[in-house]
Symmetry: C2
Subunit: 378 residues, 2 copies
């Protein structure tokens, strides 16, 4: 499973694994792929710094990447309080009422929880970049910075390049991909409709070759949205991608510990929800961030589909609105009430497996698929 | 591009081409694929009989197939008049008002046009089957009967098998595929979300391997939804399909003459609309038949998206409601107001090309993709 892009990164397989878990990211890099740590959950740069240090200590010197969220258009920021005042009281009331209806208890200490909120703000995302750059100047392991929303600002791209770091950006349509390339982005991540999190309307089967053709030699394309098997990786390479970008599939990795209380054995509440979901159990809604994102279908997403539910707010207000709710939901430990981005590949997340086994399984299946294809030319 | 299924049909390439045009279907079979004639537009069995006779005369003895529409649950039939009375006047008023707003003139003779309506009724679909069976008893060329909605009735499957005809059925979800196999269907056509016409929510990248795994050795799977290039065929085979089922892509074949007035040169109105559409210019709505179907996005589909628009009616009432409108739209010759099922692959329909060239191009691209994949194992 070697491609030019894999060689460029010095990795065994062009499997790029996006995950908010440092344990999973490190395991992906150790197993020959490229682990990409999602940074949006880090409100404090010190926390990210410590996690990157941990990554350094647990990746045997192998390369890895970071993923930040910098919207193409810098949103209104101001202080947290200013933004809070822009949220209509009806929306807050709906969220409170819904959580009560779903039996989600208030947070024990009554505190506000901001986890995962500030990372969506432009200034915080830039501080993530700064920490990552410092880190790579010290250890040289961070080889990729990916941006989940639009092209990163010019100076971020320039700084990354100065530090020998390649820049990738997600695209859900041809126009986005062309904009990225023009802005100096090195790698286009083509994310189809079926992917978890923010997606457009065009599916992977259509989008991947369309973006490969659109950017041509200007940039390699990573195929995202719908990958969780060696056959799907073979399909991605057949369609012209130089590798795959996978997110959802790692959520049921054995190393994924986020949301699990200390000492708890077995799958976390979110993992229980993922394990039982089929490919039909996702919805694409604006309720998570204000932009259309694919989520696991649960009683929480159902509540927003009710006729009485309000329209979701624009980014970043919707995120602020639901941040507290997400924290409450997270503590409620009910697999039927979960707020979690997930792609349709969740239908293939049916057991808890160590990352190394996941990758070995995909590599073996990939080789079998490629040989099978070759035999059709005999 | 040889697979077991292609060998079973005695065709050069496992490219199954669904089309309402006998000219296109015959050209696909002549070029080494299997042309499958869509029968839903034939109200009169005599008309279908004559067209099948023409197919016989223009396919050099090569095999071809027919596609009928038999809903799994037999809908209320009764006479045409009974059904008409079930359509709310508000719906009729909305359609009339919309057509006027869009500048679509009434039909010149003021007559009702039923084209394409009766084919949706169960009894008419069965008469299509009867005609096809008679035809294959005479010439032995019809090798496949496909059903676009659910498993065909037991006796239809039995009759097909008695005549040496294989039975295929479309599936948009695992449950449908398993039901087909249990009912005795020979080939499952896995149609992803991106496909034209009736589709489910699960995309091709996810659905194809899911159905391949679900039916196992019970039936080969044809990959539908999103195919219009050799790379996409390679992806389909990589994902475990035994071939591809293509529909939209043939609409811009040079041989496609439907909807074109006698003697008109150049692309038809519908073809003009298809040629300029991108992969983002489709929508999946219930407005065509009552069940979710992907259509070309035009001012007609936009009108149904307006807040003031009524909810579409269930099948077959919605079809009856819009039949007259479709006939008017068809005669209006305005590429911005078209009522046409089309998949997201329409973004790749960018020129009028003869079927033989389309197939030769796909075969060449397929071989290049398979060789490129093989080189990743070096």
């Amino acid at each position: 499973m070697r491609t030019e892009l894999a060689d460029r990164f010095g990795i065994d397989y062009p499997i790029f694994g996006f995950t908010p878990s440092q344990h999973v990211a490190a395991a992906i890099s150790r197993a020959g792929g490229l682990g990409v740590l999602g940074c949006v959950r880090f409100n404090e740069t010190e926390e990210l710094d410590a996690v990157l240090e941990w990554m350094h200590e647990n990746t045997d010197g192998k390369p890895f990447g970071v993923d930040v969220v910098m919207p193409a258009k810098i949103p209104t920021e101001g202080s947290k309080v200013d933004l809070d005042s822009m949220i209509p009281p009806e929306h807050r009331a709906f969220v409170e009422r819904t959580l009560d209806d779903l039996g989600v208890p208030p947070l024990p200490d009554g505190d506000r929880v901001d986890a995962g909120v500030l990372g969506w703000l432009h200034s915080v995302a830039r501080s993530h970049v700064d920490v990552a750059m410092e880190h790579t100047r010290e250890y040289g392991q961070i080889k990729l910075i990916a941006n989940a929303l639009g092209s990163p600002p010019d100076d971020v791209i320039a700084t990354a390049h100065d530090n020998g770091v390649l820049v990738a950006a997600l695209a859900g349509a041809k126009e986005h991909a062309l904009h990225h390339v023009q802005a100096g982005v090195d790698i286009v991540i083509a994310q189809g409709y079926e992917g978890g999190g923010h997606t457009g309307e065009v599916t992977s089967m259509i989008l991947w070759p369309e973006l490969v053709d659109a950017v041509g030699d200007s940039a390699p394309v990573l195929a995202a949205g719908g990958v969780g098997s060696g056959r799907q990786i073979a399909a991605a390479i057949a369609l012209g991608a130089q590798g795959v970008w996978m997110g959802t599939y790692w959520l049921t990795a054995a190393e994924y510990q986020l949301g699990k209380a200390e000492g708890v054995q077995g799958p976390s509440t979110v993992q229980q929800a993922l394990l039982k979901a089929t490919s039909r159990d996702t919805v694409r809604r604006r309720i998570y961030s204000g932009k259309p994102a694919r989520l696991l279908k649960t009683r929480w997403t159902d509540a927003w589909d009710a006729e009485s539910a309000p329209e979701p707010l624009p980014m970043p207000l919707q995120n602020l609105l639901v941040a507290q709710a997400h924290a409450r939901i997270s503590q409620a430990d009910n697999p039927d009430v979960v707020a979690m981005p997930a792609g349709q590949i969740v239908g293939r997340c049916n057991e808890i497996v160590p990352v190394a086994d996941m990758i070995a399984g995909m590599v073996a299946e990939y080789e079998e698929a490629v040989k099978r294809l070759g035999s059709t030319l005999d």
